[in-house]
């Protein structure tokens, strides 16, 4: 459906997108994930013909976006990061313009406009000025615009940014609904969003593709970092003593909570997290110490994301990044030495 091959975009000496290649199949919701400045918007702008690439090519349904832009663009609907709306028009006038520009005429145009207005739940708003609409409605007008012309592929750049929680849920439902009949590519830096709506995730960092898989598979990829977090009714020395005797543990870290109790993060040496939980349960019960809480920790997409975008991953194509990325996510590196992800 969409093929991106060796895509590179340079601004002077700064490389925004670096030899990016991937293939997108029909009929899924794809998530484009990356920290701010990773090259998500740049890639999307190139894919939709808004920006030229320094090198490489993009094919939409077999048509090159530069060589046959008309055919390629007719198969695309695009919502840029900032919805490109004419503020002094009404959604109706605006959608009419976009529909006409996409080659729709007469009855066809009208029926499609009505359909997208219904789909994006803009009814009742179509004759108000866009400038007077709330941000959520503006976003819907932007999405409605992208859906005109019945494109096979819909590309949405951060569609939920700046919306309130209810609007976010509504837009996500809409995207899920779109994914049933079209290929949807959306970018985001909100992990939970991608996890809930996307069937496949592309993680991009410093202009390079570092992972491309389902959210579940990506989490499995990082199961090595599984561990358990527990709260026991015991003193620090007692806990240390018990843990030292267990060989299923590779490392642990303690943290005193506000109520004086101690929370311990334990890293499994090998095996499943459930083996570790079992060993801990029996070890503490033998010593007559109660376990008040026992939570297995799974690597979340968040951990995967941080791991992939902040560090080099074996096998992933992040060979050289000595250039300082000015947009690097300042989320901070997790305690890599202990291997315990603190939450």
């Amino acid at each position: 459906m969409v093929t991106v091959e060796h895509l590179t975009k340079r601004y002077g000496t700064f490389t925004a997108v670096d030899d990016l290649s991937f293939k997108i199949e029909e009929g899924h919701v794809y998530g484009f994930l990356g920290p701010n400045g990773a090259g998500k918007s740049t890639t999307m702008n190139i894919m939709t013909g808004c920006l030229s690439a320094t090198e490489g090519q993009v094919k939409i349904d077999g048509y090159d976006i530069y060589e046959e832009p008309d055919k390629a663009k007719r198969r695309l609907g695009y919502l840029p990061e900032q919805p490109p709306l004419y503020m002094n028009e009404t959604p109706w006038e605006y959608l009419k313009f976009v529909g006409e520009a996409k080659g729709l005429r007469g009855r066809e145009l009208k029926s499609q406009m009505e359909a997208v207005i219904l789909q994006t739940r803009l009814e009742g708003m179509e004759h108000r000025l866009i400038a007077k609409l709330s941000k959520g409605y503006k976003q819907r007008v932007g999405i409605a615009q992208a859906l005109l012309g019945d494109p096979k592929i819909v590309i949405l750049d951060e569609p939920t940014v700046g919306l309130d929680p209810i609007q976010i849920i509504e837009i996500r439902d809409l995207i899920r609904q779109l994914g049933q009949e079209r290929t949807v590519i959306l970018s985001s830096h909100i992990l939970s969003e991608v996890q809930t709506i996307c069937e496949k995730v592309l993680i991009i960092a410093r202009g390079k593709l570092v992972a491309f898989d389902t959210p579940d598979n990506l989490e499995k990829l990082f199961q090595a970092s599984h561990g358990v977090s527990f709260v026991a009714e015991a003193k620090a020395e007692e806990i240390n003593e018990i843990l030292r005797e267990l060989d299923v543990i590779s490392d642990w870290r303690m943290e005193t909570m506000a109520d004086g109790r101690i929370r311990v993060d334990v890293q499994a040496a090998s095996g499943e997290a459930s083996d570790l939980s079992r060993s801990l349960f029996f070890a503490f019960s033998r010593k007559k110490k109660a376990l008040l809480e026992l939570t297995p920790k799974k690597a979340s997409l968040e951990d995967v994301f941080i791991e992939l975008t902040e560090t080099d991953v074996p096998g992933a194509d992040v060979a050289e990044h000595e250039s300082v990325d000015p947009f690097k996510n300042p989320a901070g590196s997790k305690s890599e030495e202990s291997g315990v992800a603190d939450r």
Partner: protein, 287 residues
């Protein structure tokens, strides 16, 4: 292209640009007609047009300043790029819309000579010939304004450059009498112009090598020609300024001659600046 045309036309009416443009043009032509045709009882309507042409210095930038700069500011140019439209379609569609906005008040004005002809002898051929030239000259100025609007995303700035550029063009003939007509002066100014051309190329292409290369090559060529045959440059600058003036050519029509070379000149200007506007728009993709 028709979609862009229709949208731009309705935008001109949404934003009052069309009304302001039309109202001022009609008001000035009205005042001119009153002074020349009614009070002084002159039968030549073309004098009114010649009197009014100065108002283009302000009205054209008012009409054109938003046309592309605003799209950039609102980031709606991204929409235009992602739609199945070529940059040429966008530019020509917009230009046509501006021409229509300009044509509407002219349609009203075109009744005036006919009204005057009911009360006396008016040479309608010159009147309408001048009006046609007035329209085409305005079209040429609009294409220049449109190009200037495509250079920036600041609407005020687009108008800010537009006014002096058109003003300079308006006065270039009178200024021509005061500039140096010596060979050295002409060659020097030409070199400065090549430098400016380099700056424009640099702004459009972000390619310093190309900009400096073109500039230096032209300056070197000018220097070489000056060294070998300085008499070529004798009086070149004032002549150039006279030739480039859009307004000066319009006065030929006012004096009663329908000058086809001037019409060709106006069309050349229109095509040239629309071409530059398309390039300027395309450049956004290649920055």
């Amino acid at each position: 292209m028709m979609a862009v045309f229709r949208r731009e036309l309705s935008d001109c009416f949404h934003t009052l640009t069309a009304y302001i443009f039309g109202a001022f043009l009609l008001a000035f032509v009205g005042v001119g007609a009153m002074i020349y045709n009614i009070q002084q009882a002159v039968a030549n309507f073309e004098y009114v047009l010649s009197f009014v042409s100065l108002i283009f210095v302000v009205l054209v930038p008012v009409l054109t300043m938003r046309v592309i700069a605003e799209e950039r500011k609102q980031k709606t140019d991204q929409l235009l790029f992602s739609l199945p439209l070529t940059s040429t379609q966008v530019v020509v569609g917009k230009y046509m819309a501006l021409l229509v906005v300009y044509l509407l008040p002219l349609c009203i004005i075109s009744i005036y000579p006919w009204i005057f002809s009911q009360f006396g002898e008016v040479y309608l051929l010159t009147s309408y010939g001048s009006m046609a030239a007035f329209f085409i000259m305005g079209g040429a100025l609009i294409s220049i304004g449109m190009f200037l609007s495509s250079l920036t995303e600041n609407v005020g700035f687009a108008a800010g450059i537009g006014i002096p550029v058109i003003l300079f063009n308006y006065y270039s003939v009178s200024l021509a009498e005061h500039v140096s007509s010596s060979a050295f002066g002409s060659a020097a100014v030409l070199c400065i112009l090549w430098g400016l051309l380099g700056a424009v190329i640099r702004h459009l292409t972000k390619n310093e090598g190309l900009a400096y290369g073109v500039s230096l090559a032209l300056i070197a060529a000018t220097g070489a020609v000056y060294w070998m045959k300085p008499e070529i440059f004798e009086g070149l600058l004032p002549e150039l300024m006279r030739q480039l003036s859009l307004f000066e050519r319009f006065y030929t029509f006012v004096s009663g001659a329908f000058d086809l070379t001037s019409i060709v000149y106006y069309f050349t200007i229109i095509v040239f600046f629309l071409f530059l506007t398309v390039q300027s728009l395309e450049k956004r993709r290649y920055n």
